[in-house]
């Protein structure tokens, strides 16, 4: 027997009855526990399987892409196929939805659910960036959950806002402009301060606050602000002029915020979505936003909130800009 043969002679460990690997380290020998056969066989079969896979599917990177595979099947084609299935199912509802009026949608639980589901998803994709996932907005971005609307909260009005946006450059966009009273030197900063106090008092819920017309800013407000915000401060949707008497502030209700608003003015922008999203999506979004909680009933024509009420008759004295505040006909639609 040669030395070589001797080395490969199988040696069995007496204590455990298991072969050793034949290696020895300072008298220590290792028992030979090879991989289980079944495991190895699965490995071999997998290797053979993978060769088939290389042929059928795209696999190896080559210059200019990857091997194509004989089946022409990729994850993209699989995705396309399953998408098409989904679109086909969606189409059934879309066909019904397309021709339905808002009124019909609001009375048909199935269409309503379809609109809400689509609206919810599209809101998160497109609107949540500014308005937040819960639609509660932030400073400069309106909270869509509340019942305070600058440009109207009926389904049609929300839809119109979505279509054309606000100061978006679209020719039908909602546009309003408040002068920067301080910056443009229309008022002194002392006057802006006085106005700030007056505006804050308007929305105060304090039971013991003095009558508004006794306050120092009354005259200033009537002269400079009432033309848009109305003499009682309740705003005017025709101009997108916010209601100043409620507790809701788009740019913050702290004294500093209000001062800055009067001094520098504000002008938020919302894009026109009519070129970015299709009509069905926009209608779904309108339903969704309307149902966030503040949605208003559809009206024949917009109500001018600033129309004097019987109990503020003393406020009917004409003020500057009163004429422009008259309804501009009924060309709203």
């Amino acid at each position: 027997m040669t030395e070589q043969d001797n080395k490969h002679k199988i040696e069995v460990d007496k204590l455990s009855g298991v072969e050793t690997t034949g290696h020895e380290w300072d008298g220590l020998k290792e028992l030979n526990h090879p991989l289980p056969r079944w495991w190895l066989w699965i490995l071999y079969v997998s290797i053979i399987w993978s060769i088939g896979y290389w042929i059928v599917y795209p696999s190896w990177p080559i210059p200019g892409g990857a091997t194509k595979g004989t089946s022409g099947e990729t994850q993209f084609t699989a995705l396309k196929r399953s998408q098409n299935e989904i679109f086909l199912r969606q189409q059934v509802y879309l066909n019904k939805f397309e021709g339905a009026s808002f009124e019909a949608i609001m009375n048909d639980p199935e269409l309503y659910a379809f609109a809400m589901a689509g609206g919810r998803a599209m809101f998160k994709d497109n609107c949540a960036t500014c308005h937040g996932t819960g639609a509660s907005g932030g400073k400069g971005y309106p909270n869509l959950n509340d019942d305070d609307w600058l440009w109207g909260g009926s389904l049609e009005e929300i839809h119109a806002t979505l279509l054309h946006g606000i100061r978006s450059g679209d020719e039908d966009a909602h546009v309003s402009q408040m002068p920067a009273f301080g910056k443009e030197k229309l008022l002194t900063s002392i006057e802006v301060n006085t106005l700030t106090d007056y505006v804050l008092a308007m929305s105060s819920r304090d039971q013991e606050k003095p009558a508004m017309d006794t306050l120092a800013g009354h005259k200033l407000f009537q002269t400079n602000c009432a033309s848009c915000h109305a003499s009682n401060g309740q705003g005017d949707r025709e101009f997108g002029a916010p209601n100043l008497t409620d507790g809701i502030w788009l740019y913050g209700g702290e004294r500093g915020d209000v001062y800055e608003t009067i001094y520098n003015s504000r002008a938020g922008v919302m894009p026109a979505w009519k070129d970015r999203l299709d009509e069905n999506t926009l209608r779904q979004l309108a339903v969704y936003v309307h149902q966030l909680g503040g949605g208003e009933e559809t009206r024949e024509k917009p109500i001018l909130i600033a129309v004097p009420q019987e109990n503020d008759e003393k406020d009917t004295t004409p003020v500057d800009g009163e004429e422009e505040r008259k309804p501009q006909g009924t060309d709203n639609e």
Partner: protein, 471 residues
């Protein structure tokens, strides 16, 4: 160090068992039990049970898709799964109780592994003949006869397995519809997948694994010995009477000889392949076939029956006298089990009968947590889920309490308000509602929602929270 250690075997090799045909009291009992249990298993899905037009009319149905379990008068919703847990606990304790009294009766007669193995052995015997023929055929060389006999056997096994699997699936869907879909060759792949898997497992378990399931896989087999004591009925060999065993010629005297004639009939009929004369062992499923086999032999040699019999360990120790059996039934162990059994029984049945037909959950909006309205009111949004467990459409009224001046509005399509919340029969209605209240920002208030059935006045309350200020 010793050379014996090289023979260490970690796995026991399965030995083929060819149980011999036997007849007698216990064999007959087993046939009857097999017939009854199989009939129950295969026919139950077809039993109809009228529950009204909106609810399935299958007496026993586990409707996974819609999350309902129906069992004759009873019905469970997913959130009542604790009742199911209770029933399982009940079944376990009942098993303990029965086991402590009568030993492994479940294993010997009722367990599906036993019943199906018995059925498969019966098929095997019809095709291949009794013990010796089977043994010879299986261990002999491959001949055409062996091939066709084995082929027929396995084919029949697979057919039985397929029907077993098919019946199992019927418990999860409307049985006649599914059977119809088989006739129309229009079966869903899901159903076929389940049937395929179960056919395979039945074929494997009853055709091949057999006694190995009881010995090595079944946990109950292992822990049932914990319920045994000296007063538990077991199947045993009367050592005092039987030993010393040995061959016996006709007419020979029985003096100095035990009654066991070493015929090994008891071992030949054993489906577990054990010898009962080795004493009580874990493998024994207490099927009683060795009793039949031995009684048959005892009749032939004109000795009294009962060398192998149902008795307690005490009984075997004191001989076959009746005295030791008087207090078998009532002993501390059985009393404990009975007490626990009664308590669990009461709880489960109370839970079953007291289950409310109306439930509601109210989920407060997380974003936004509250909304300030222009008029100064605070509004909170909630997702209300109303569970109508009755079998007809109902209308409900939702009310709130706990917040001054709170008012509800329902945000949905159509003409539905908080007094006309419609929920279809046997289903969950989901509504999005708003609660607004003229309150000043303050710490969260508890708010109680109450839902009332407009028809029968059943009410259910749910406590939620009304938030009016950022935390």
């Amino acid at each position: 160090m010793s050379d014996d250690s090289e023979d260490i075997q970690l796995f026991k090799k399965q030995e083929n068992i060819y149980p011999k045909r036997v007849s007698g009291l216990f064999r007959n009992l087993k046939w009857i039990v097999m017939g009854v249990t199989l009939a129950i298993y295969y026919l139950t899905p077809f039993v109809r049970w009228d529950r009204g037009e909106h609810v399935p009319n299958q007496a026993v149905l586990l409707d996974i898709v819609n999350g309902r379990a129906y069992w004759f008068w009873f019905e469970l919703w997913p959130q009542e799964v604790y009742i199911l847990t209770g029933i399982l606990v009940l079944a376990a304790i009942a098993l303990f109780f029965v086991t402590s009294l009568f030993g492994r009766v479940w294993c010997g007669y009722l367990c599906f592994q036993t019943v199906w193995t018995d059925l498969f052995v019966w098929v095997e015997r019809i095709i291949q003949g009794d013990r010796n023929k089977r043994k010879k055929l299986r261990e002999g060389p491959w001949t055409w006869k062996k091939i066709y006999k084995l082929a027929i056997t396995h084919f029949l096994w697979i057919v039985i397995s397929w029907f077993t699997a098919g019946s199992f699936v019927l418990y999860f869907t409307d049985a006649p519809t599914l059977v119809r879909s088989f006739i129309d060759l229009n079966v869903s792949t899901t159903v076929l997948g389940f049937i395929g898997g179960l056919t395979f497992s039945t074929y494997l378990m009853a055709g091949f694994a057999r006694e190995q399931v009881c010995t090595f896989m079944c946990p109950y087999a292992r822990f049932q010995s914990a319920m045994f004591d000296k007063d538990t009925l077991i199947i045993g060999y009367d050592v005092k009477r039987g030993e010393p065993r040995g061959k016996h010629k006709k007419g020979e005297s029985w003096d100095d000889k035990g009654h066991c004639i070493s015929c090994t009939a008891c071992a030949q009929v054993c489906p577990m392949g054990i010898d009962i004369r080795d004493g009580l062992q874990m493998d024994c499923i207490a099927c009683g076939l060795c009793i039949d086999a031995c009684d048959d032999i005892m009749d032939k040699v004109d000795l009294p029956r009962g060398l192998i019999r149902y008795d307690t360990e005490n009984g075997f120790e004191h001989g076959a006298n009746a005295e030791s059996k008087t207090n078998v039934i009532f002993r501390p162990r059985t009393a404990y089990y009975l007490a626990i059994l009664s308590v669990v029984c009461i709880i489960v049945f109370y839970a079953l009968f007291a289950r409310s037909m109306l439930e509601m959950t109210v989920l407060h909006d997380r974003n936004p947590i509250f909304v300030q309205l222009s008029g100064g009111d605070i509004r909170n949004g909630y997702e209300v889920k109303i569970l109508n467990k009755t079998h007809d459409h109902r209308e409900y009224t939702l009310g709130v309490d706990g917040v001054d001046g709170a008012e509800i509005s329902v945000n949905t399509a159509g003409n539905i308000n908080e007094n006309t919340l419609v929920v279809h029969a046997n289903s969950v209605g989901q509504y999005r509602i708003f609660v607004h209240a003229p309150i000043k920002p303050s710490q969260p208030h508890d708010i109680i929602f109450t839902i009332t059935d407009n028809e029968d006045g059943t009410a259910y309350e749910y406590k939620s929270v009304f938030i009016s200020k950022r935390p």
